[in-house]
Symmetry: C2
Subunit: 472 residues, 2 copies
């Protein structure tokens, strides 16, 4: 009756832990010498289709399997030449904080314990950094999609005009409509679907030559919907589109939302972090007026997955959207549950882990200014890459470089050739850009949220693209 | 232009990592000697309201702050006498796996890399363990709420009778209704609200003396709704209610769902894991017939937060609910994105961390049979505690003990006295049960999902409750 998953003798597992730590530090310190990505051999694929382990193999054997079949076959985002799909690298400090968070294993619904104070402190810091008013509400999330979904859920609660928690979208009501640009991220469609608003009610407004939402077209779309009896509730502006990094005119959209009594939600998945850097803050001006703002710390905050954040200007509305009741939740000002479960009343989850610790340790260890300098460095690197492309007769940009995303193509090649170039750049282990369609062309796309990149890494990419292009 | 968040010299951070590891192993090895919980001094609360750190304090200082102000003030769930709110302890192996996962930091939308194969392997193992058909679909989640929400979203997609992704709940349609028992967990209300179904459409069916859903009453409720023109879509059965651990009659409910063409969703947040143990599997018989099943690995799987799982019998329906499109998602059979983003098409998130690694390493290191034995041990411990309570003239059970949850009270005391007893048990650092209302009484509740508990821990609780009760 006294079995446990703790070891009877802690020494061997402790030694294994030290071995893991040394192996991982060796791995991280040598990233620059490793391939940017490598395909898995068939033997690895076969090894990872093992039957269910009913019997113990022991931690050493499990770790040996990890070392042989898992660690070498990464998706590449740790390395200095990964610029695909807007993924961060993670950091050594963030990794150690994740270890400590898992060791402590606290439950972050709320409760009266230090981790809850750490999360609240992190939220207060983020409120300050984003220029939201002191006392604004917030919660850390798995990432941008859930953070954005939370913002849209509060918007629905605030502006729908009926009791949506009680009646759902199942009472008779005018069509609720939401607005974003044609460049908005796929989360918007998913959130509309999940929330029962539906894809059809998401109005995709045209963009200008800079790929920013056309605010006149937005105004017309709202008026047209009102004329048809619909009830516009929310505008989703984007600070840093996933395709090209374009930033909507947040000030004009904020003004329009104020005039039209609409919820102003900003998706700043990576772009919001630009506000940390004095030289870049002006590019996202107006964002601080958001009713709700969503962004990630695991993209341009460089932290390991998963950690995003939703901020909501009005804490009462935030709570009104997710407040919960239950007999096993006994409100009291004493004991472990003193203070209630505030974080569980700001989003989807009741059980929540200690994501806050890596933000807290990273901000303290590095200082926010150092993170801001790296964001500036990535923007400068994007400008450097763009300049190299513009100067090269065989390369061309396919979209304006608004921030840290560079879309380009090998001009002598068609779409198929550019795709082939991208595949070979990845398969040869040189670098990991991704692709998009920009300016009507299949484009190689570098989204630079990488604290390990150096200028020479971009030179290497340019040379490889030209070399492979010419060889085709 | 070559700044980074990596250290210039890796040695000091590596040493700090080794120090952290030793400190944490010391902490874990001495849990039994530590208070079950302790309130935070004012100085700690003040220290955790530090201004935004613009400048670097360095990793050593940040860690010193963690050691002093965070680690000692846990919510208690690591320890051997924590039985509150159904929280697991976490395990040393799980913690090391979380470290490795954060170090690798892969992006689990999909992609062609070993972590994606690890997640798919874990899902296949869980499909097998839960008795779902081979080829059933699944995805790891932050926990039970999101896993359950995914199940209900697929139910809505499958049974609504209109194009809910395109039209949302905003087209004209019969009222969609969902059924659960009055003992179902609060997630059901939240998911109804989020999905736009609304709390009003959640029919709470009465329970029998064992606190299981009254299936005749369920049948009547469905018929009554149909008679009024509503469209019943889904029954939510619970395998292990949060209040008392009651298990609905899954076989009868599965039969009823088949007859009535309703989606059969099972919330097995902790109870589903009982299926791993041969002596307990029969208690959750019928669960394997679920159209969708949600459960946690961070409760009765003992793993650190966060990791839950949603399984869906029909993989096509699962994908149809969450399939995504986007220009930056370039389907190809080559390069990093070969195979697409399957996990992002099974739930809410696009960016997803490597939760699968701790399940994979834990199953391999310990073997599933060892986890099953611990689940059996917890059920035997609940029976032991129940017996001690029944034998004690001053104590009484307030609900049947169906599995691993024991609800009881100090009989000479009223509700206020029992709450006072619970507070003192926590404040004196003896143990952390939580509370509920059961059998009409405020009750002390032990939800035993703890791999560190021994029989002597339950003796200690019984003695403390009686001692404090008498002292009042």
């Amino acid at each position: 009756m006294n079995r446990t998953l703790d070891p009877a003798d802690w020494s061997p597992l402790r030694s294994l832990g030290h071995q893991m730590l040394d192996d991982i530090f060796d791995h991280l310190a040598s990233l620059r010498e490793q391939p940017a990505w490598q395909p898995m051999p068939a033997a690895v694929r076969a090894a990872l289709r093992e039957p269910l382990p009913r019997d113990a193999q022991g931690p050493d054997a499990a770790y040996a399997d990890f070392l042989e079949n898992v660690l070498p076959y990464r998706n590449g985002n740790l390395g200095p030449r990964f610029w695909g799909w807007v993924q961060g690298n993670g950091t050594p400090v963030g990794m150690l904080a994740d270890f400590l968070a898992s060791a402590m294993n606290p439950h972050l619904a709320g409760f009266d314990h230090a981790p809850a104070l750490v999360e609240q402190q992190v939220i207060d810091w983020l409120v300050e950094l984003m220029g939201m008013p002191s006392g604004a509400s917030g919660v850390l999330t798995s990432g941008g999609t859930v953070a954005n979904l939370i913002g849209l859920a509060v918007a629905r609660q605030a502006k729908c005009g009926f009791d949506v928690r009680e009646d759902g979208m199942q009472s008779e009501h005018p069509l609720l409509t939401v607005y974003c640009s044609t460049e908005a991220h796929g989360w918007a469609r998913r959130a509309m679907e999940v929330l029962g608003l539906g894809n059809r009610a998401l109005r995709r407004v045209a963009v200008d030559a800079e790929l920013r939402m056309d605010v006149d077209a937005l105004r017309e779309a709202i008026a047209a919907d009102r004329a048809k009896g619909a009830r516009p509730i929310c505008v989703i502006a984007t600070a840093g589109t996933v395709n090209t990094g374009a930033i909507d005119d947040l000030v004009r959209i904020a003004n329009l939302c104020a005039e039209e009594n609409l919820w102003f939600h900003v998706d700043g998945a990576f772009g919001a972090l630009a506000r940390l850097a004095p030289s870049l803050a002006d590019r996202v001006r107006g964002m601080e007026r958001a009713d709700s703002l969503a962004f990630d710390l695991h993209k341009w905050g460089y932290l390991p997955f998963e950690v995003g954040c939703a901020l909501v200007r009005d804490p009462e509305l935030h709570k009104a959207t997710f407040e919960l009741k239950g007999r096993y939740l006994d409100p009291t000002d004493r004991g472990v549950i003193a203070g209630g479960l505030p974080f569980a009343e700001r989003g989807l989850e009741l059980t929540r882990g200690f994501k806050a610790l890596k933000v807290w340790m990273s901000f303290k260890a590095h200082g926010v200014d150092a993170i801001a300098e790296l964001i500036e460095q990535n923007v400068a690197q994007a400008a450097y890459l763009a300049k190299r492309i513009e100067e090269h007769p065989e390369l061309a940009l396919t979209a304006p470089v608004a921030l840290n995303v560079v879309c380009f193509r090998y001009v002598p090649g068609d779409d198929a050739a550019n795709r082939e170039i991208l595949m070979r750049v990845q398969e040869e282990g040189i670098a990991v850009p991704s692709s998009t369609v920009a300016g009507g062309h299949y484009s190689i796309r570098c989204a630079i949220t990488n604290h390990r990149s150096r200028l020479e890494d971009f030179d290497l990419l340019v040379e490889a693209v030209v070399r492979i292009g010419r060889s085709l």
